[in-house]
Subunit: 239 residues, 2 copies
Amino acid sequence: MNNKEISQAVVARLPRYYRYLGDLRDEGVERISSQELSKIMHVTASQIRQDFNHFGGFGQQGYGYNTDYLYEEIGKILGLDHPHNMILIGAGHLGSALIGYMNFRRRGYLFKAAFDINEALFNQTISGIPVYPMSDMPDYIKNNNIDIVVITISKQEAVKVVEVLNRCPIKAIWNFAHCELEVREDIQVENVHLSDSLMQLSYQIRQYELRHSREEEDGKKDSTRHPAGKHPHKNEEAG
Amino acid sequence: MNNKEISQAVVARLPRYYRYLGDLRDEGVERISSQELSKIMHVTASQIRQDFNHFGGFGQQGYGYNTDYLYEEIGKILGLDHPHNMILIGAGHLGSALIGYMNFRRRGYLFKAAFDINEALFNQTISGIPVYPMSDMPDYIKNNNIDIVVITISKQEAVKVVEVLNRCPIKAIWNFAHCELEVREDIQVENVHLSDSLMQLSYQIRQYELRHSREEEDGKKDSTRHPAGKHPHKNEEAG
DNA sequence: TAGATTGTTAATCGATTAACAATC
DNA sequence: TAGATTGTTAATCGATTAACAATC
């Protein structure tokens, strides 16, 4: 087990390994070599071995990796070996979607309560999770061992809520507000900036069109913008 | 204007520049140097200049960058200078949240219709956007100049829908299903894998605890898990 | 003109890939 | 044992940072 800081690039690949290994396990594949996995995932076998070795050797020379064992070990690294108590700040559509997503619960990410400023929602439930007034939030966190706070409110509101959260015993914030948050040094933050993602997509559209505008002009007139029949390919994993 | 392929790392930073420049513009800041921006955004001035220069020079020696001009230019690079017609596949909570998010509309990302398999939703509207049966989707795309398809359905359904989309004249897919899609070579894909993001967060929690477990054990007993009063700091931008 | 700051080249750093000895 | 495949070191590639000449 290497104790050096592991690069963000490696960490970002772990959930993807976990996903593929889970699928392989479900298919009953007992063992897999870095080369086989490399073909399936479209990354180099070398990178796979390097990545796993950051966390110590999970494989066996001449054999490969035991799918089940590797899956479990990566799960542990990602913190899936124990549950995480979560609350939601902002019981809108996005928050409701997250609460209702059963795969989170299956992995041990447990929503315990939601908080909102809309009185109409108080004491209602969303997928069985109660909604309370925002003012109850600090006490609720204190009494219910909350690890992760999920923020699905506007950036203006988010900044205010974070001032409160900085005085609460939480471990992490999963932030959907499209701003950056100033948090205590011991609070981990993961941002999901949906508009950034969408802008990257329209960047890619533009780039594709720039690259191919010459060909299209040169080619014969074609009523469909995107001629079908090209060979489908696996898209690359994005950010 | 450099015509070489621009690295994913640079592209991923553009929306963040755009966000900060928009804020500066709103605050009435007319000009900014790479060094000033560097301080605000917590990246090196060198990286800022390198990044912008991938797209040609937007600045002026001895002056810096005109905030407004730079903001507009980055907007153009990201494809925000013209509208994008979008449809939604899957009119659940997540989809409804995206349709209802006004910032997308403001930036020219226009939802035109939603499609679902749930009959109860047909001819209803979500934030003014009509919901149609899935079977109408290919014709709708053909007749309404749809650029981007937003997928908020399960991975099983997504795989099937993508087979259909591969024969439709679309430019891009914004994919929220947590699987990778096999698409035509001219279709751009941007994945939003929420569970991956959440797993990275719990990885960071675990890492923080591993790093600090020794200190905590050595230190005197403390009833609060996270002593307050540490100096808040700006969190790093995550993937 | 002098001062400031970009655009750009060069140096450094880090991440990925290749190669191969260790070993199952 | 022979074959296979890891774990790991070395080579390469790419991205970031530093430095500075160009120039506003």
